[in-house]
């Protein structure tokens, strides 16, 4: 008997089940790493995970001083202590602490605005794509109108009326992203709703709601996940610009844009003041965009395979 060896390194045995063979054929490493991603994808992912952990648990970091109270002399240079890692700002608060707490502010805005935009955008976009007609035109008009308006100016207008408040900023920024999510969802629904599995579900007697939620919604996830990080990065930038202009998060609360704004006066003498918040914004936005690209590529591949 000729032995052809075992090219896959498998030993299914006579009555191994199909599922066991598949499981054995999947290398363990592919379950851990960001498969198909580059080093920067992995770094970006780790950075974002850390950012989220910091935003959630910054209160519990031992030894970290309050971001609102002075901690030493003003404009101290960085040293190797936890709170002095990035020096102190113009009134002696720990910049490192303020950057970490600023992460919480940014992440909170990103999370809530995105939730608002995603829920409303999905609802409008899916209904528009499924039922078409006048409702679709109305949604298109709404999305186009939003795209035509500069979000920063509109938030400024709102803030001028309501006064600087976190809620105004979150809601207005959220509303601005509705248009994009609605468009992505609408395009997805239109391309899905003539697929055979949607026809099959309809033939089976599934209601419109069931078709939209169970058949179509899962298929929108790739497109949405791809566009979401990019929009999130946009939110961070807009929030930063608003705070920089003095219309963002009200003063004592730490925010990256606000920190940049307050250090511009002293920039020529103490350029290090600005380093922390600027790096935080740059890395965060870069990480969001990198992950967005990675997901877009990954999920597209997966869709093509299936």
């Amino acid at each position: 008997m000729t032995d052809i060896g075992n090219p896959l390194g498998l030993n299914p045995g006579p009555d191994a089940k199909l599922s066991e063979i598949v499981r054995a054929a999947t290398p363990w490493s592919s379950k851990l790493r960001l498969s198909g991603g580059s080093v920067s994808d992995t770094v970006a992912a780790i950075f974002l995970v850390l950012l989220i952990l910091v935003a959630l648990f910054v209160d519990f970091i031992p030894g970290l001083v309050s971001p609102r109270l002075p901690y030493g002399d003003f404009s101290q240079l960085p040293d190797w202590s936890l709170n002095g890692l990035l020096g102190t700002d113009d009134i002696g608060r720990s910049i490192f602490s303020r950057v970490l707490y600023g992460a919480r502010t940014s992440m909170m805005i990103v999370a809530i605005s995105t939730t608002i935009a995603l829920v409303a955008g999905l609802l409008l976009g899916m209904l528009a794509g499924y039922y078409r007609g006048y409702f679709e035109r109305a949604v298109d008009l709404f999305a186009n109108a939003l795209a035509a308006m500069p979000s920063t100016l509109v938030v400024l207008a709102f803030v001028a009326v309501t006064g600087p408040s976190v809620i105004t900023i979150i809601v207005v920024l959220g509303i601005f992203d509705i248009g994009t999510y609605a468009r992505v969802a609408k395009a997805g629904v239109i391309s899905q709703s003539n697929r055979d599995y949607v026809l099959a579900a309809r033939a089976m007697g599934a209601t419109d709601g069931r078709i939209l939620l169970q058949e179509i919604l899962p298929n929108l996830i790739p497109a949405l996940t791809a566009v979401m990080p990019t929009l999130m990065a946009g939110l961070i930038i807009t929030e930063g610009s608003l705070s920089f202009l003095g219309y963002g998060i009200p003063a004592p609360a730490p925010s990256w844009g606000g920190m940049i704004a307050s250090s511009t006066d002293l920039l020529s003498r103490f350029p290090l003041l600005i380093l922390g918040p600027v790096l935080a914004i740059v890395f965060t936005v870069y990480a969001f965009n990198t992950i967005g690209d990675y997901l877009a590529q990954r999920l597209n591949n997966r869709e093509r395979e299936s």
């Binding site: 089940k17 199909l18 599922s19 598949v22 003539n194 697929r195 055979d196 599995y197 026809l199 099959a200 579900a201 309809r202 033939a203 089976m204 007697g205 599934a206 209601t207 069931r210 169970q214 058949e215 899962p218 298929n219 996830i221 997966r302 869709e303 395979e305 299936s306």
Partner: protein, 342 residues
């Protein structure tokens, strides 16, 4: 439950006509379709691309594209579908009719586990609990020949091959124990050996579960031994309709005859040129006034181009065809020849 053993019509279409609006005016997709299928019988619907096969199925199932106007009567188990409210209609069709589509690559949702896709109909129409639905889905997966079904329940469609996916589709179509199973070109996208397996599976299931079945195909070979009746569509018209054996043995419409002689025969020497039908199927926008096949028909006369032929009846009353100059009835074949045609 109907206790009477005699067969009755499970589905019948009478004078069914479908129109679709287009920029150039209304298109007649289907014209005057009449047929019926009894319980436990199998009907083959054949025709080339654009003949209206899929549109017919979609119109029956109520999944026709928006804007398709359907006139005439479609009766499912004695109930006129056009008289039902959309909700009741959906319920009736979903419960009584199962459908398997052409392309297994697109007819399963890539983001939903196959077990859930199989269960869906059962949960909608039979109100099955989660566990009960799961048990039946696994049972059906076994029935259609998926190995270790209990594990496969949680898999996604991309983990299966085309033939397997089509088996999964069949399982999904069977979950409500339908009275009628429609296979719309169900094996066209599969390679020939898998095609045969899936067709045999369909045929076995049909016999076992005493269902009716409609096999839609462009391939006469697919319907040949597997159906009781055959309906030949051309350009949206029924050109010939009758018992399968009779139509194959004794085609009366020239289109059917041309289709049959375009099939390779086992007794021909290798590399024999197959007969082809010259010309193109009719353009629905400029449909001829008369017989749709007239422009391609070798025997067409002036009347064929101007007048739509009436339906005539062959020796057997169930054999019908629409032709002004039908092929003559061949004398009854010797038993040997008849066996060959079967």
């Amino acid at each position: 439950m109907d206790a009477s053993p005699t067969s009755r019509a499970i589905l019948s279409c009478s004078n069914m006509t479908c129109e679709l609006d287009s920029v150039t005016g209304p298109l007649k997709i289907l014209q005057d379709i009449n047929f019926s299928i009894d319980t436990r019988r199998a009907l083959g619907i054949v025709g080339e691309s654009g003949a209206g096969k899929s549109m017919l199925v979609k119109a029956i199932m109520g999944i026709a594209p928006r804007g398709l106007r359907i006139a005439g009567k479609i009766e499912l188990d004695g109930q006129d579908l056009s008289k039902l409210k959309p909700k009741d209609r959906r319920k009736l069709i979903g419960r009584r009719v199962g459908i398997v589509f052409q392309n297994p690559m697109t007819s399963l949702n890539p983001f939903v586990q196959i077990g859930q896709q199989i269960e869906e109909g059962g949960r909608i129409h039979l109100g099955l609990s989660h566990n009960e639905a799961r048990r039946r889905a696994i049972e059906l997966l076994n029935l259609v020949g998926i190995p270790d079904a209990a594990d496969c329940y949680d898999y996604y469609p991309h983990q299966f091959s085309g033939g397997m996916k089509q088996r999964i589709m069949i399982a999904a179509a069977l979950i409500c124990e339908p009275d009628l199973l429609i296979a719309d070109e169900a094996t066209t996208a599969l390679d020939v050996t898998v095609q045969k397996e899936v067709l045999d599976l369909l045929q076995n299931i049909q016999a076992e579960r005493q269902m009716s079945m409609i096999l839609v195909s462009h391939n006469l070979g697919v319907v040949a031994g597997r159906t009781d009746e055959i309906l030949v569509l051309y350009g949206g018209n029924v050109v010939e309709y009758g018992p399968t054996a009779e139509v194959f043995r004794n085609p009366r419409h020239r289109y059917t005859e041309a289709l049959l002689s375009a099939m390779p025969q086992m007794d021909q020497p290798a590399h024999t040129r197959l007969r082809t039908i010259p010309g193109q199927p009719p353009n629905l926008a400029s449909r001829p006034k008369g017989c749709p096949f007239a422009p391609r028909c070798p025997a067409a006369q002036a009347i064929c181009h101007d007048v739509m032929p009436d339906v005539s009846t062959g020796i057997e009353a169930s054999h019908r065809f629409a032709c002004h100059f039908p092929l003559s009835e061949i004398s009854r074949l010797t038993p040997v020849e008849a066996a060959h045609v079967q």
